[in-house]
Assembly symmetry: C2
Homo-oligomer: 192 residues x 2
DNA sequence: AAAAAGCATTGATCTAAATCAATGCTTTCA
DNA sequence: TGAAAGCATTGATTTAGATCAATGCTTTTT
């Protein structure tokens, strides 16, 4: 059940069996069905979710009710509205499930207590957020400096498993494009 | 000399005098003149720089030799090519000074030793990177979901001190626009 | 003090992506 | 199993921003 989570944890910070059991006591499991919300805009985000199985997305909705995907969360990734989680402000994102999914949930109080009491958990958290920062910086850099073609090809190269599992119009949304434009980009690439 | 650095540190994690002195021994000061490079693309980034005074920018240069500003670093901010610093890969960004500046430099070995030996330094690092992550997420969200006008106005509202000190064409570059376009956007806004 | 470099603005034109609209295919569900 | 919803593609048109080019102003350099 918590396999992937601890695999991921151990790959960053090695835990003993005891430590693992200790952490496990702070975690809960949650199953969520396709299309179900994990978080809705306006609510306060009360947990961090680690994806054991399945796929989710975080997205915002603008005034023209267009959806903009901020982040995908597949197996092995963490998904949350971190700003809301940390500040207690209302969430600006929605998070919902693209497939039936299984999540490892870390509540706010669990997170804080583990941070206070367990240096290894703090290290894990630091490494996690650092990785997320670097991934986002790569994305931002590519948005402001590369052509759409390059960006699409980089995306496919970097996240082939996402491209396979997620409808194309969501990838367009993630890239800040309309579905029509992405379709034409693909056509252009394939004819080269 | 290290005033702002420790002010910033204490605001996140409170230090005793002794701890402060201990950390100080790991830091060095560096003055850098306007237009001078702190880091050049292709070199390995060997330090994190905290800006005590002055202003810098991190930017990439694309195949058409257009510059794209990734980040500004004014007083109180940290600037680095974190990916290169952490992995030892060649840097993909240039960093140079927009004004004569004073930096607090943390070398790779200092950073690693402090992380290993001083829990408060790890906490400081974690909070710092978390803040940087949230700032970047806000920027990314605004890029993929807001109009250019809104984005410019958000920028001005959020970083008025940057807008005052930095030439307009660099703000255009930061926003992924040409200088001409930003000029027209401003005109459009002012005539409302 | 003169020359050069850097900068913001404006105009004219071009181009990439958005929008609007329609079609056919596939998956979902009632 | 039949209807509806979801999805990708293509075409026609519009639009926002890029590009090319020129001007005047300010700051820096010599």
């Amino acid at each position: 059940m918590y396999n992937l989570f601890f695999q991921h944890f151990n790959s960053k910070v090695q835990l003993t069996e005891d430590e693992q059991a200790h952490i496990k006591a702070y975690l809960t499991l949650k199953k969520i069905r396709k299309k179900q919300y994990l978080l809705q805009e306006g609510d306060v985000c009360k947990m961090i979710a680690f994806v054991e199985k399945g796929a989710l997305r975080a997205y915002s909705v603008d005034e023209n009710s267009n959806e903009h995907i901020i982040q995908f969360g597949l197996e092995g990734w963490t998904i949350s509205d971190l700003f809301s989680f940390l500040t207690g402000e209302p969430a600006t994102y929605n998070i919902d499930a693209l497939e039936d999914s299984e999540l490892v949930i870390i509540s706010k109080s669990a997170h804080e207590e583990l941070l206070q009491t367990m240096p290894k958990y703090e290290t894990f958290t630091r490494l996690n957020i650092t990785g997320a920062y670097l991934a986002m910086q790569r994305r931002l850099t590519s948005i402001i400096s590369a052509s759409v073609e390059e960006r699409y090809q980089d995306f496919i190269a970097l996240y082939p498993h996402i491209a396979q599992r997620v409808p194309q119009h969501m990838i367009a949304s993630y890239m800040g494009l309309t579905p029509e434009t992405l379709s034409r980009i693909r056509k252009r690439i394939s004819s080269k």
